[in-house]
């Protein structure tokens, strides 16, 4: 029993140490940090991990952490903010990211710091610009689809013109 207590205390101290250590600064540090992580269900710790992963570009790990936060605190402002940032890197999630960023601005923007608001505004601008450009390509596609019909019409007109000239002027 005593041994178990000591072990529990040791784990607690090591987890607290890991939680307080500065974020990794290079690739090797990131791997070592990742390998040291223990299991947790604490949404704050998961958000902290998601932030480290996101900063490094480890999108898979960051999404996994955020999904676990979403199961416990679906309306967490940092969850929305991190999700918007990650979505901006994945073209298939741009629209979802836009929704998250807009919701964050509306619900949490006024009460958060200027730095956070500025960061989300940047994401919002980026996503709006990209989605608008993509929509413009989609709309242009319909116009460009008419090009073959235009070609056909020009060809038929040319043939009709040549045939008429031949009939009217004769051999």
């Amino acid at each position: 029993m005593r041994a178990l207590l000591v072990l529990w205390l040791l784990l607690l101290v090591s987890a607290a140490g890991a939680a307080q250590e500065p974020p990794p600064r290079d690739a090797r540090g990131l791997l070592q940090w990742h390998l040291r992580l223990g299991p947790t269900d604490d949404p704050d710790e998961l958000l902290r991990r998601a932030w480290v992963y996101q900063r490094a570009g480890a999108e898979g790990e960051a999404w996994a952490a955020l999904e676990r936060v979403a199961a416990r605190r679906p309306d967490d402002p940092d969850l929305l903010r991190f999700r918007a940032r990650l979505s901006a890197w994945d073209p298939s999630r741009w629209r979802a990211g836009l929704t998250d960023a807009e919701r964050w601005m509306e619900e949490f923007g006024p009460s958060r710091s200027d730095a956070e608001r500025g960061a989300v505004a940047e994401i919002l601008d980026e996503l709006r610009r990209r989605v608008a450009a993509r929509d413009a390509v989609g709309e242009g596609r319909r116009a460009r689809a008419l090009a073959p019909l235009f070609a056909l019409a020009v060809g038929l007109l040319a043939v009709a013109f040549a045939s008429r000239r031949m009939r009217s002027e004769g051999p």
Partner: protein, 533 residues
């Protein structure tokens, strides 16, 4: 006179066909599909023009009609040289990423070619039957006349191919050459018509030549926001441009349609840009994963030996900095192979390698990677394959099972192949690019692994010959300090797919290789996935 007209028409048709694609390149790229479409459109216009010309020939005065067709053809080619840029700019919204713009490339280039290249080719194709009709009475019938006109036209086409590829693109300029050809056609047509028409044509030709002074809109085509253009050049392979972002000091060497994509990256002070090149730092790490004691060829000799590597698709050498960082101070000697000498010239002028990198690599220019590899020694430590053609197409002959076997034959046991792959496909798609590329690489290597490049659509495939790839725990020991976080992120499980996890797929072979169509299909599918419903 008829033969000269036929010669000029044949010359102009081939010049329009080839330079047309180069003129489209800064806007829509020059993918295989764009080339096929251009050739198909030109052939259709030739067929239609020949048929209409035959009908018109029976209507009388064929030489005069031929002269008019020359003049009109010349005017249209001149218009193409001047107006295609502004027209193309309207077909592609600004601020697009390459991913988003990809679906618009084929339809956009088709529309532009239909408007600017098909009509002049059709007009010039009227000439053949008209000239045969005009010449036949003097040559004793249609047979001899047709033979002579066909011979003159084909000779013109032959000269057109040579002049377009070896003179117009590298020396004169694409737009300038088209305007020059337009001026010649105008003059020739005017001379055939009348003295007054010749005078008018001469004025129009001079106007076209003067129009060369108007700045070329292709210089700023699809320019990313915040960038400035430093240099532009057309090579026989591609349209090239060097741009700089004054805010960050970054420079990109872009090819063809540009957008947010680049062929090489450079920063005056930074080695890493958070880009796929960074992951090439892993190639020397993986190659030395179990050295010097427990690998074939290990021991003291392995400690003192200079590591040898080749970079196939050298570009401006963006991979070298990360490779050097991955070597962590160990001595090494590399060879870089680059197909397009213009890339090397622009690179050395605008994206110069740091002094310490220049000494570590011998660059071979103007050679195809596969052909050049035959001269490689058979004990290379690693090979980096970063060869793309026409922006996002893997060259067919550099993506086959046979080619990867050739690479493996030049690697020592434990040697590593690293391939940059840009794709929208998921690795678990058995018909997707990654699975099929994996199936093409796997037969010649013992282990294979894919790392997704952070914040990117790119993956880097690593394969190791006759030895396993190291575990994550081992990598945490092996990685030299100072590599960027992104390299660490890429090797974490969330960004990594082991070769064994790839679904069974058919390999690409020299005999059967649908990689171009596959890539085009993946890009279109990805763009449609999130498009306007």
């Amino acid at each position: 006179m008829e033969l000269l007209a036929a010669f000029l028409a044949g010359f102009a048709v081939l010049v329009v066909e080839i330079l047309g694609v180069h003129l489209l390149a800064p806007w829509f790229g020059t993918s295989s599909l764009v080339w096929s479409q251009q050739i198909g459109l030109v052939l259709a216009a030739i067929a239609l023009g020949g048929w209409i010309g035959g009908r018109l020939a029976r209507a009388g005065d064929p030489l005069r009609r031929a002269a008019r067709a020359l003049v009109l053809g010349g005017l249209w080619i001149g218009a193409a040289g001047l107006l295609l840029g502004p027209f193309a700019a309207r077909l592609l919204p600004s601020g697009l990423t390459l991913d988003d713009a990809a679906p618009a490339f084929l339809s956009g280039s088709f529309t532009a070619a239909l408007v600017f290249f098909a009509p002049p080719v059709l007009l010039l194709s009227l000439l053949h039957p008209l000239l045969v009709q005009a010449r036949a009475p003097r040559r004793g019938g249609a047979g001899p006349a047709a033979g002579e006109v066909a011979a003159a036209g084909t000779a013109g086409s032959l000269l057109g191919v040579v002049a377009a590829t070896f003179l117009a693109v590298p020396l004169v300029g694409v737009r300038e050459s088209l305007l020059g050809v337009a001026a010649v056609l105008l003059l020739a047509g005017g001379l055939l018509l009348s003295r007054a028409a010749a005078a008018r044509s001469a004025v129009a030709a001079c106007a076209l030549l003067l129009a060369m002074l108007v700045p070329d809109p292709a210089r700023r085509a699809n320019l990313p926001p915040g960038a400035e253009v430093l240099a532009v050049r057309d090579s026989p392979y591609q349209h090239l441009r060097v741009i700089e972002f004054p805010l960050t000091g970054e420079r990109w060497l872009q090819m063809n349609e540009g957008l947010d994509s680049f062929q090489s990256w450079w920063h005056p002070e930074a080695t890493f840009g958070g880009l796929y090149y960074d992951l090439f730092a892993l190639a020397p790490v993986y190659a030395r994963a179990d050295r010097p004691t427990d690998a074939p060829g290990g021991g003291v000799a392995a400690l003192t030996r200079r590591e040898r590597f080749w970079v196939l698709g050298f570009g401006a050498g963006s991979a070298l900095g990360p490779i050097r960082a991955g070597l962590a101070g160990r001595p090494a000697a590399g060879v870089g192979v680059e197909l397009d000498p213009a890339v090397l010239e622009l690179g050395s002028e605008w994206l110069p390698l740091a002094e310490e990198l220049r000494g570590a690599v011998r660059v071979v220019g103007g050679q195809d990677a596969r052909a050049a590899l035959r001269a490689a020694p058979d004990d290379l430590d690693f090979v980096v394959l970063d060869a793309y053609t026409r922006q996002f197409e893997l060259p067919l002959h550099l993506a086959t099972r046979e080619f990867f076997a050739e690479i493996a034959s030049h690697l020592r046991p434990g040697g590593v192949l690293a391939i940059n792959v840009g794709t929208q496909a998921a690795p678990n798609d058995p018909g997707g690019l990654l699975a099929r590329l994996g199936a093409s690489v796997a037969p010649s290597f013992a282990a294979l692994r894919l790392h997704r490049v952070p914040r990117s659509r790119n993956w880097v495939l690593f394969a190791r010959k006759a030895a396993p790839l190291p575990s994550l725990e081992r990598l945490a020991e092996l990685l030299p300090p100072g590599l960027p976080l992104e390299v660490g992120a890429a090797v974490l499980p969330g960004q990594t797919v082991a070769g064994e996890a790839l679904p069974p797929a058919r390999p690409f072979t020299d005999d059967r290789n649908p990689v171009t169509l596959l890539q085009a299909r993946e890009w279109w599918a990805a763009a449609r996935a999130d498009a306007v419903p």
